[in-house]
Symmetry: C3
Subunit: 669 residues, 3 copies
């Protein structure tokens, strides 16, 4: 079981919080939902305090009426367990179940997510309220899906956590000796002589142990997963036919290993709030979600009708709501859901947008919502075939966690930024990318990019060798492969586990100051190019360049390519140099003539190493890619085309898309 | 009773802290005070630890001698209750009465203001020390005024506060249902089923409840007011003829609703420390104080002889001490007081300036202090008549508090900035402004400005309608009127409570990025102008432009006016458009042709709506104002004129003011 | 006893942490050490948890084997007591001995330095482990030196500290009255009526008491010194012939008064990690260390083979490891030690560099380490004679601590920056400088600079008068001398204790905004010059200008000199003006014509006062200095010459140094 019955087409709707409104509004809600074409709403995410106003005292009548009303309106319900926000009484009754920060501050109710997933009182109360709901609504005809909790992502540092962390560590490391070795506790006198000595990373004097920090992030993800599983068990037992999911948040802070969790949910669901370049970020998020889902359908559970840029909320441009929804759907989402149905009039998110804005249905926003609701049913057929990807990018949450350690050679290292650049280059050049884990079977891909994969296991390194041996092309970027799964540096020269495959040995890192760009020269002259032939990707239209840097001259290549941010003292150990560091700047002189980009023939494939940061256009030329102007995604005989830009675009097929236009076409029979 | 007897002229002096100095210095102090023309000093503000060195053990002899000396010197005493800084022994004896931060950190003595106004031990000790002083000095001939506490403004989050907050909430909301509704606790599962569940906003996981936060700020102001009232009661009983006040601080952090407090003090007193543009900030602060005082005389209780800019202390320019004092007096202050008389040689504020600086009386500063002391008595007659204002600006502390919530459509929204712009435009164009509460009778004003009045009650909205109906001109700026008194958004379109009055309906907000300026066009061409006739304000001299932005071309108007920071999708519902958003910038294209500034005839008056931020000069042209070069304030037959600038200025009357010059003239008989 | 026997030449080596590695690596270590010429390694700094895995249970066998192996290899051991990082079990057994922050957060193990030096359990455990080591290795032939603890510098705010602070204060002030007076507790009602009321500066409401804060910093230094002394006592008793030291850290945060400590260690040792301009910072640090050592040999205990700039680690340029080591040695270090021998593969500092980098011995770094190891023995003779200094700079840790108080006239005041500028000007102009305490005998120096000496005792001020009286030249910079030893301002005009000596009286400070430069004019015209004759310093080569500001025109002097950052209203009281403030900028007009730089003939010497900040080149011209291009240090008949720059340099002697070249020459017989 993975997809809710009766929803073989596309889900359309959003979070619906009727408890915020008087009952007379509910009727208008259902009527407006019908007008908008909504077929699924998520109910009850934050309703625990209304469902159980006092410990053990339940008030489910209002929810009965809401579900009945929705059912009468033909709208399915994605019913949430409300555990993401325990009621005020909960923390007062169980102070030991409230979140404790690393500084030892015990948080108080008054917002949301004030709990500790490892605290027994909270685990028990969570299962009880989930059971109550499942027992009550197991047979309700409008129950379509279970939405457990909300946006898991809240670490705690209390003593319950300490105990659970120790249990988890025993299971992971087996013995204290193994843990001491994995964490290199000999450094700074951190050797543990008893399990009881181990605590979560709490406020301490100076730098934490990076291996302990990494294991704690793994533990936190697993501890939350345990909390999820406990609810899932009762829901599965009581409603064996109803799919169960939870909504993943994206973001660097998120302590959830989504790939790991994907095996536990019946369907992958994500919340997505782009902030600076919505089209690019949407493609990135959707491709990530598809990767977690292993190519199966997934669901965009939350998006919004405005853009949250951080300092301000920016209205979406006309049609943008539909275009971004379509981009998600093209890349595998089986629907477009929003937070939330009706904008709140109070509470912490009273300025969070809604499908029905404060101004009411007589508004541009609601009209666009209705238009989108009309469009979606027509896509039912087009979303059947799998998304076709031209390349894969390796992605591993643990590598990102490890790169959040302090004390790295550069404090500016960012795993998300490295991965986003790889994806952005492909996206802007018309290549649809899958995200894959380093352990995945990569043999289907002609090209695999490996940005910033700081840590890698021996087994995964072997997997990459097999891939290249079998004829694949692998592009590894700087700082990949240097650490093992315990975040320990591999000795003998960087990039550690990938030295042999890449045919290089790196002696020393040379992180660069922000204003330094080292010119690169190509041995024998000519343009920077990893392949002699063009890559022949489907991209033939240039996408709008939302993040183009001043000074990029695009594909003309007349400007001298440079390496920025990072450089390395690379020695060839079998590879050949595609580009060399040059120039006489004092900070770079020591690298003059040293290889910057290398190519190694390995088996029947090619392993490229990029020891510096290239501008996007140079990165693309290295791969032989040509710019694209329109977002194109192929799924079997269907082509999704979205013009996010301000100019009219005519494609090779003759199809002409006006600014902001889109089309879903049958292109093969 | 409001003004101290014998002080019908102007008060001149400052905080006098003799306990910092050996007794031989006291005699020099009194002699220098007489030389400087000082007639009032504030004594004892921080003397609790010297008056009561151990619990219940008093040492008042030194204060007897100080008061006797001052009396002999003919200097009146504004006697402080020293409760703003309890002695070290107090917190050690009553740890539960020390301030607790939102994070739960209990503060320690070692600075000042380490107490909780809601803690019974502190309330009791405060009343006891006030009683001791009042009993001792009730008949001392030099006692002129009581100065209760100092700069109230210290919130606490302890359990005493939690209990007091609940009591306050019961009184405000009556029932839990009403509170749950006012706070929209249905959102994020915050519903309270018992009063005991409610606590102050403490460290929590994520965004706080904005209505709870707003009520807490109201409560904190009221809790401090209770503390004030308790002292006032004993002082009034023991010294029924001595006025009682406290000194208000200005500043965005200040959790005191000064307008509310003004009804409780016998005279309004403020401390004022300008930081970047002293003349403008002085006019602003003085007009605010006059507003709180309801037009009655008030007192500038603290200012300094240098300017504190934040990063550094800047010496005042020659004559600036007198000019700024005169500006305060022109705008209603019945005196000029300083912190402090003699600069300290130690302690936390050893580098805070004094009327007698570290260098001693042989100094430019003390000479200027003496010159000012000579000037003030000559103003006795000129300050009798009320200040004449040409316009009013609405001001409400609660609107500012509400706009400090996180999660607003723009994180850069600033109530003080919005209000300061309105005041600055009037000030620079020669219009003296009153500040009024939205509930005030506005019928005397030809023009009322409403900047950033985020929340407004139904009754106050009706008051504004009455004002315009009766012929007034009201200029409402963006984000006003959108929320009710519980900080809940009013539904159906912005600006909520003011839609009818303004004849518009706003569908959507479009906050703008910092670098975007949307051109505005005037339908039918011509300059931006709300009135066809000139406003004919008294301004005929241009003030120095301390904050002029590069690129402002002043009144020539040849440059295209633009809207910045904020824009809105405005629909006309009876109003006419005075200016439209135009231009093809992608971020603004959706608003092209949409009204930006509107005018609605309502009753016999006019209601203008400004949905974006204008540059100061455009704002002034909209109102038909002409620049002024000299600060002018009329009070009956007297005119106060201050030239803060670097150029000589000749006024219409023929009076010529040199750079830095000032005059107080009788202009009507 | 001060220098280890058998180490009359130079020490070479680094921190060696064999417990991080399997025993098979140890043999390779010793072999590589021999290859590199290493003769001394610091062992055991962070080994407590391995030496005493459980309370009272010791495992010293591995250390026996390490020491034996090193001895066999001919390598001496600087044996550390491991108290800088207690094992995890320690804090769990003695939670009262863990560090408490000013906010009351009790830190947890998991990093290093989680202890309180004033907690009895920690003091006792420290002495016990030191005793254990001394008893075990007192007769080990390879024991050369004791390295107590590591980088003392961790303050605590717990109740143990409060008690110890009170004891310290009783000893310092004698009576509560004296303390109340010294701290000016009359301000803000901080008067103490019992010793028990005094606590460390903890989280409080607003500004702390600066005198309390200063005394606390003094106390923290002394409390750590007590901890050091307790270990030293047992080590001295058990190993009377082995020198005992600890490694000082530099840095503004460091709460250790190194000059005070220098009298307690058998030899001064420092750790030095330059961050932005390694050659200049090295000269500065080495001269400071020599000053603490009173001219005796000292030891560079830690440096690194890369540069830590804060945001990133930067590879050293070819030869830079040797050049900086040589610069330290030229300035008095009897060796060059590194942290650490072998780069770690895990733990918090896994990316900290090592003499044997991650890449292993086949690396540029290790090759340069070997080259340096070859060079050092040849310097044995050259380092015998004392360093010859051409000037002294006064330096006092307490002045720096006092300038870290909030509430100073400028928040941008920086003692380190003021001292560094004085040193930099001398360094770049070929003048080797000693650092001296204000109480030192200065009669040997022709020139003494006094930058930012905020506080000074009466006795030290008299010492400076004696120095000038006897013919010395003293250059005092702004803000010196204004406070007494309790950080109380001296009244009657600045610069307080130095008014008479300088022949000036300053009435008022005028800190300047960052963008303001006040032109300076020289009365009678001509260049800025304190002396009529050239200073005739040894400098004849210009050093590379790592921090030169754009716009400095060097010695041509055609550009108008200006004062920045700070200015003062200076009155002459016997001195003559060398330069006057001029110009019409409104912020500076009040000072036009006021003396900016003055000269006072006092006794047979000259006292100069600089009331503003000069650019480096103007500062140098004032002193009659000529630029130097090569670092030169004379020691008796030997000259050390290092060319840190990118150009070849030929000196007057005809010696030609290529870019990056260096030489140690016998120049006199």
């Amino acid at each position: 079981m993975d997809w809710p019955k009766g929803f073989e087409g596309l889900c359309y709707g959003g979070d619906y919080n009727p408890e915020q409104w008087p009952e007379e509004v509910w009727k208008e809600d259902v009527e407006l939902m019908r007008r908008a074409g909504v077929n699924l709403v998520t109910v009850g995410v934050f309703s625990w305090a209304r469902l159980e106003p006092s410990p053990g005292v339940h008030d489910l009548g209002w929810l009965d009426r809401v579900l009945d009303l929705l059912h009468e309106g033909g709208i399915g319900v994605n019913l949430a367990t409300p555990t993401a926000s325990p009621p005020p009484w909960f923390g007062l009754a169980h102070p030991d179940a409230l979140t404790v920060t690393a500084d030892g501050v015990r948080l108080t109710h008054g917002s949301r997510d004030t709990y500790c997933v490892s605290a027994p009182p909270y685990r028990d109360a969570s299962v009880r309220i989930a059971t109550t709901l499942a027992e009550r609504y197991r047979d309700h005809p409008t129950l379509v899906m279970w939405h457990v909790h909300n946006e898991y992502g809240t670490p705690c540092h209390c003593d319950h956590v300490a105990a659970a962390f120790r249990t988890w560590l025993r299971a992971r490391h087996g013995t204290l000796d193994a843990l001491n070795d994995a964490w290199t506790t000999s450094f700074w006198s951190q050797h543990y002589s008893a399990w009881e000595q181990i605590v979560p990373p709490r406020a301490t004097q100076y730098l934490p142990n990076p291996s302990q920090a990494l294991d704690f992030r793994r533990f936190v993800s697993d501890a939350m997963l345990d909390h999820f599983r406990a609810q899932k068990a009762v829901l599965r037992e009581l409603t064996p036919d109803v799919p169960i999911t939870t909504n993943f948040v994206l973001g660097d802070w998120a302590p959830v290993n989504q790939r790991h969790w994907a095996g536990e949910v019946d369907l992958v669901a994500i919340d997505h709030y782009p902030s600076s370049n919505p089209p690019e970020e949407t493609a990135f998020a959707a491709d990530l979600a598809r990767g977690w889902a292993g190519g199966r359908p997934w669901l965009l559970m939350e998006q919004s009708v405005v853009t949250y840029t951080g300092p301000r909320m920016v209205a979406k441009r006309p049609g943008e709501i539909a275009r971004l929804s379509l981009s998600h759907i093209a890349r595998g989402s089986r629907g477009a859901m929003f937070f939330q149905w009706r904008a709140s009039r109070g509470g912490a998110e009273l300025w969070h947008s809604g499908m029905v804005p404060h101004a009411g249905p007589d508004s541009r926003i609601f009209r666009e919502i209705c238009e989108l609701g009309e469009l979606l049913p027509s896509l039912r057929e087009a979303v059947r075939a799998p998304v076709e990807a031209g390349a894969a990018i390796l992605w591993d949450a643990e590598a990102g966690w490890a790169l959040q350690a302090p004390g790295l050679p550069s404090a500016e290292l960012s795993y998300p930024e490295a991965v986003r650049q790889a994806h952005r280059v492909l996206y802007r050049h018309g290549v649809t990318a899958d995200f894959a884990h380093p352990s995945a079977d990569l043999s289907a891909y002609g090209l695999v990019l490996v940005p910033g994969l700081y840590l890698i296991t021996d087994a995964d390194a072997a997997n990459l060798r097999r891939y290249v041996e079998g004829g694949g092309t692998l592009l590894v970027s700087y700082l990949s492969g240097v650490a093992d799964e315990h975040a320990r540096v591999r000795r003998g020269g960087y990039p550690g586990a990938l030295r042999d495959l890449l045919g290089v040995r790196v002696e020393e890192f040379h992180p660069l100051p922000p204003d330094l760009a080292i010119p690169l020269s190509v041995p024998g002259g000519g343009p920077l190019r990893a392949h002699t032939e063009d890559a022949g990707r489907p991209g033939d239209e240039r996408l709008p360049s939302g993040r183009g840097k001043a000074g990029e001259t695009g594909e003309s290549g007349e400007r001298q390519d440079t390496g920025t941010f990072w450089s390395e003292h690379v020695h060839l150990r079998g590879a050949e140099a595609l580009a060399l560091y040059t120039g006489s700047h004092p900070s770079a002189a020591a690298l003059s003539g040293v290889p910057a980009i290398t190519r190694n023939r390995y088996g029947t494939g090619t392993a490229l190493y990029l020891s510096t940061r290239l501008a996007d256009d140079a990165y693309a030329r290295l791969l032989g890619l040509r710019p694209a102007h329109v977002e194109l995604v192929r799924r079997g005989e269907w082509l999704f085309a979205v013009n996010h830009g301000d100019d009219e675009r005519t494609m090779a097929s003759g199809l002409c898309l006006p600014p902001g236009g889109y089309a879903v076409l049958k292109v093969r029979d």
